[in-house]
């Protein structure tokens, strides 16, 4: 039996299922993406706790301080002295006060004399930082004029 060739010319593939899937993926990634700049430094390994739930409301003004260790690509601590990760610089605690004073001036220039009452200093300290140094940082913040503090931790599953 001779097979007859039918010249169909150009056949269009059905694009609908592919477009469906692509749109679903696009929607998923759009929803999941978070463009909010959290000012969080990935080198800081926060302590974990079950009660650390994301706050329902954000503070009116926030100053985020990342306090941790310099780490290599594997996440190992390369320098045992903790530093503050501030504006792409690694600053030890004893040299940090001028930066806090600068932040204070910025808050005062923005919102006036009562500005500091609205500011919450959010401390993102590494789980292995000595507590005395965290307290030292709080003390320096108090000396500059900040009085509200929040300690960050990563949420742990119950």
């Amino acid at each position: 039996m001779k097979r007859t060739k039918v010249d169909t010319g150009f056949t269009e593939p059905d694009m609908t299922p592919m477009i469906d899937i692509v749109f679903q993926l696009l929607t998923f990634f759009m929803i999941v993406s978070n463009f909010e700049s959290t000012k969080a430094d990935e080198r800081v390994k926060l302590p974990k706790d079950v009660l650390a739930k994301p706050p329902e409301s954000r503070p009116e003004e926030e100053l985020v301080l990342n306090y941790g260790f310099e780490r290599n690509a594997k996440g190992e601590i390369t320098n045992p002295t903790p530093v503050l990760f501030y504006n792409a610089e690694d600053i030890p605690l004893d040299r940090f006060k001028p930066m806090l004073e600068q932040e204070r001036r910025l808050f005062l220039a923005k919102d006036g004399n009562k500005a500091l009452d609205k500011v919450t200093v959010t401390l993102r300290a590494d789980s292995e930082v000595p507590t005395g140094l965290v307290q030292g940082l709080i003390k320096v913040c108090q000396e500059v004029g900040f009085s509200r503090f929040a300690l960050k931790a990563t949420q742990e599953d119950y």
């Binding site: 692509v22 009660l51 706050p55 709080i138 503090f149 960050k152």
Partner: protein
Amino acid sequence: MAKEKRQTAGVSKVDIPMAPMIDITFQLLIFFMLNLKIVAPEGDFSINMPISPPAQSETPPPPIPPIKVGLRSDANGNLTQLTIGGRSLGNDDLAFDRLNGEILKIIGRPNNPLTKDVEVEIDADYELHYRYVIQAISKCTGRLDPQTKQMIRYVEKIKFSPPKQPAA
């Protein structure tokens, strides 16, 4: 005639060019995929550290003295002893559960209006790893209801005692 015209209109098909839309869609998809950063959710514990006014001898003491929680450590920053009011609770994970129980005993019941002003003062050694302090703060703050997964709050006011100098 009219019938013929309608039929012709029904047959004609306008091809919408899909290629540009698919191009843009794929570019958007790649953009969002590359921007995706998966981060663990973070929560915070508020602490009460007001700027201390100049010392005044006439300042009345608080009506309820703060609950003193002590955390002692070795030179490596590991917890060696957890105390409440000078009484040892041990140094393991169960010690923190005991602390949670002791706090509940002191306040009587969660959201007790009589003890809502109770304050906890954390007195930690200088070298102690910060994670133990967060654990202690968490256990003083409350506990998670296993059924509802909601926090049952014990104490709202938590403060640190003045920092100590590092051990020689």
